[in-house]
Each structure stands twice: as C-alpha cells, then as structure tokens.
C-alpha cells in the first residue's frame, strides 16, 4: 500500500513539527560554523508550509511536494531556501501524476532531489553540506525494497550517518568554508536538517 496525497501531507506536517522542535539545535550548529540562522530559516519555511497546507491542501503527492517547494523558495531565503526548494521541486516532477508513492517512487524522488541540489549548489560529497547526508540516503533508498516507508527509513538512517560524517570535514562550500580549518569538529547544519527531515518523513510513512 503506497502513500497517498493525504499521507504525504501528514508526513510533511510531521516533518514541520520536527523542524520546529529542532530549531534551536540547528541554530546552534549554524552559529558554530555559519551565521546562526539555519534553524530559524527552516522554522520560518515549514511554518509557512503548514499554513498553506491548511488553506489549500493539494490532491496529489506531486502537488504536495510542489507546494512545499514553492513555499520554501519564497520564505526560507539563505542557501537552504533555494536548495531545499529545488530538491522538493525536482522530487515533485519525478513522481509525476502518481496517486500513491511506493518505495520506487520515493527512491526516484530522492535521486531527483539530490541532482537538483547538486545542480544548484555544485557541492560534492566531502564538501561538508547537505549533499553529504542526501547522497548516501539516495543510495540506501535505491537498495531498499518495497514500501515508501521502507525506502524512507533506509534513507533516514543513511542520512544520519552522512550527517555525522560531516563533523571532521573542512568545509569547501557555503558559509562554513570561510572558516577554513576552523570549520572541522562541527556537524554541518544542513546535513543535520536533511537527516531530521528524512527521519520524520520515514516515521510518518511507517504510521500511514
């Protein structure tokens, strides 16, 4: 049984709550090696997503993802806004007009999301960005078999490991790169938010 538009909406809502709960953590991570706004940027964006989901609930998974994309693009700002916006926009295109998403669709959506982030941000694995969380997540989802929930769960685990892997890295992209060697020793906030989002989506999908 796949994820319907309603399931995707529920998952996005759950993700929004997780983002709000982790706002201060993400701010602290960004304060260490950036400009201390990542948590607030994501909170602002997902709060706007919640309110738009209330007023204009879309009726296909693709439309839900597109609403998320355009809302993030117009409210998050910073680097994360265009990057997450592009990710959700590409994911939306990738699932086409499917009424329900299975594991395969999730894997395709994640792959498209990663491609979008890389196209915009030009980061590669090891640059200490969200790409370090998203890249292993894409691989894990592709290898997982079956339901959307299974694919997302594998992706979330891999993303968490990917986020941890950013700790010792010296940043080569984003604001943290200005710090040079001083950026080592801290987790990348965008990698952390990617892992948080995927975990929330996976948990919600498991309940669907």
């Amino acid at each position: 049984m796949g994820c319907t538009a309603a399931d995707v909406i529920a998952a996005i809502r759950a993700a929004a709550v997780v983002v709000q709960e982790h706002r201060d953590e993400l701010v602290r991570l960004d304060q260490a090696i950036g400009d201390a706004d990542h948590g607030e940027n994501m909170r602002r964006g997902f709060t706007a997503v919640l309110s738009r989901l209330d007023t204009e609930p879309p009726d296909t998974p693709a439309k839900v993802l597109k609403l998320v994309a355009t809302t993030l693009i117009s409210t998050v700002g910073g680097a994360a806004g265009p990057l997450y916006g592009t990710a959700f926009l590409r994911a939306s295109s990738a699932v086409g007009d499917l009424a329900e998403l299975d594991g395969d669709a999730v894997a395709r959506a994640l792959r498209a999301a990663l491609d979008g982030v890389v196209a915009r941000g030009k980061a590669v694995v090891g640059d200490k960005t969200m790409v370090d969380a998203l890249t292993p997540a894409v691989t894990a989802a592709a290898c997982a078999e079956g339901t959307a929930a299974a694919a997302l769960s594998a992706a979330a685990d891999a993303a968490a490991e990917g986020a941890t892997s950013t700790v010792p890295m010296v940043a080569r992209k984003g604001r943290a790169s200005y710090l040079g060697d001083r950026s080592a020793g801290h987790m990348d906030p965008g990698a952390r938010s990617t892992a948080l989002l995927l975990r929330a989506l996976a948990d919600a999908a498991a309940k669907a």
Binding site: D37, G77, R175, Y178, G180, R182
Partner: protein, 330 residues
Amino acid sequence: MKKIINDPETVVREALRGMQAAHSDLLTVHHDPAVVVRADAPVRGKVAIISGGGSGHEPLHGGFVGRGMLSAACPGPVFTSPTSDQVVDAIARTDGGAGALLVVKNYTGDVLNFEMAAELAESEVRSVVIDDDVAVQDSSYTAGRRGVGGTVLLEKIVGAAAERGDDLAACEALALRVISSVRSMGLALTACTVPHVGSPSFELADDEMEIGIGIHGEPGRRKVKTGSASEMVSALLEPILEDLPFSSGDRVLLFTNGMGGTPLLELYLAHGIAEQLLADRGITVERRLVGPYITSLEMQGMSLTLLRLDDEMVELWDAPVHTAALRWGV
C-alpha cells in the same frame, strides 16, 4: 540580549516601517514580499540597479536606494539572504525598459536566490557577483570570497552610470571593472547578537579579536591578541595591498568602514593611520569614505576597502547621489 525591538520575528518589518516614515520622499517600502524601491521608480529608459541581502548591515542596502544609486533593495531577515520572490518583485517594480542589473554579494544564499530570480524574471537581467574580501582563500572548489565593503562603492559608481543613461551592457562591464579593482578586509573586537538567536555569535576574550571576519557575525580566519590601532590597520591593509596588488602611483578610494558598534572617533583615528601608510607607499588617496556603511548589527570592529580608481570611476563617484545614507550634489 540588549536590543530595541519588540519581537525577533517582526524586527525587519517594523524597521522598514520606520524607514518608510523617515524617508518617504526618497523611497517606498513594499511588504510581502519586502522590497525597498526608489520613490520615482520605474525610471523610463534607465537600467534598474538592484541589490539586497540579509538585514543587519544597515545602511546597506536600503539606505542606498535613491537617485544615483540603487533602484531597489531586497532585505532578507537578519543575516539571511532574501528570497527570489523579493528579487523578482524588485525587478518588476523598477525595470524602466532598459533591463536590470543585479548586484549580488558572493554568499551561496545570495547567489542562489538572485540566480533563481534572474531565471524567473520577465525583464532582461544581468547579474554581477562581488567578492572583494581578501580574508577568504579563493579557489574554484570553494564558495569563494565574500562580498563586503566593495559593494557600497560598486553601488555608488554603477548607480551613477545608470543614472546618466549607460545601457545594461555598459553597467555590467563597469561593475566588473570595479569588482576587479576593489579589495577589502575586516576585523571584529566584539561579536554581535542576532535577534532570533539571542546570544553572541562567537566568544572573544577581553584581549582577543577576530581577523578576517565577514559581515554576518561569523568568526574570522583567526583569533589573535588585540593590538594598537596602528597594528590593526596594518593587519588589514597589508593583505589588501598585496592581493590586487596595489602599487606606488596608484590612485585609490579609501573606505574606512565601521562594523556598527565602533565609535566614529576610532574610525577617524584608524582612517588617519591608513592614509599615512598609503602615502608612505606612494599610493594617492583621491577619494575617501569614513563611517559605518556596511555593518554587522552592533559589532565593534572595522574594515578597510581600497578601490583602484580611473578617471571614469572618479567622475561617477562624484556624481550627485540622493539616498538616506549617502547624499551629495543634490
């Protein structure tokens, strides 16, 4: 947190309201999306010069909207790039038929949001990215250098060119010439506190300073012991001079900028030292700007910016400007 604010969420909106009240002759503030537009926009046949970035750097950019400088500014939340919607809106409100030049400071967020806006806009749009901060090691594999103090000079000079009727290609070429001729570096004596964070952006002991800071309350390249004003000025000026490099016989504009919390008394003191150092090198300071023009909230510190001048730049620098923060000849 010691701030004159009501609510971290509404800081920028409320500040823009005050700006509108203070300068209704010069500019019009639009909300949702937030854009500060010169009062007489669009100006027929004139290239629109548009910039923007996180708030907290006042008077940059809104204070430079007006005749002879910016057509519009897009203020993001504090220290956060504006969204592409804001930029698209700014373009639509100011394009007088001659297209728009986007002046983008080189930060991933600014670059990406302005880039998306350029893709979405219906006008003819060119973008230039300013990256004058010599504190950052440059390489094609990194985010590259930040845009800092040089932005103010670029906006003035290119704004004057647009005002006299230069077309989009000419404005873009001039902007690139300024970018290739300008270098900056800054230092912080204290951190600043972003309203939505509530605690200082970094810790500094009483005898420490950060050298090579940007303008977003981010730590610099290295923490060093504080020194005399002469040592501080040298620590900023030497890397700037070496980088371009500037050499004896050059004519320059020297911009001594305050980060927000440093008294003008100290800025003038530092400026005097910098003028002397340049004179000793045989570099002629032909124009100067001293004051807090691109800031990091209440941070104490300063930056120096050096622009190698040519005759056209001098003429455009001297051209009339009428904005909230820079005004002469009118």
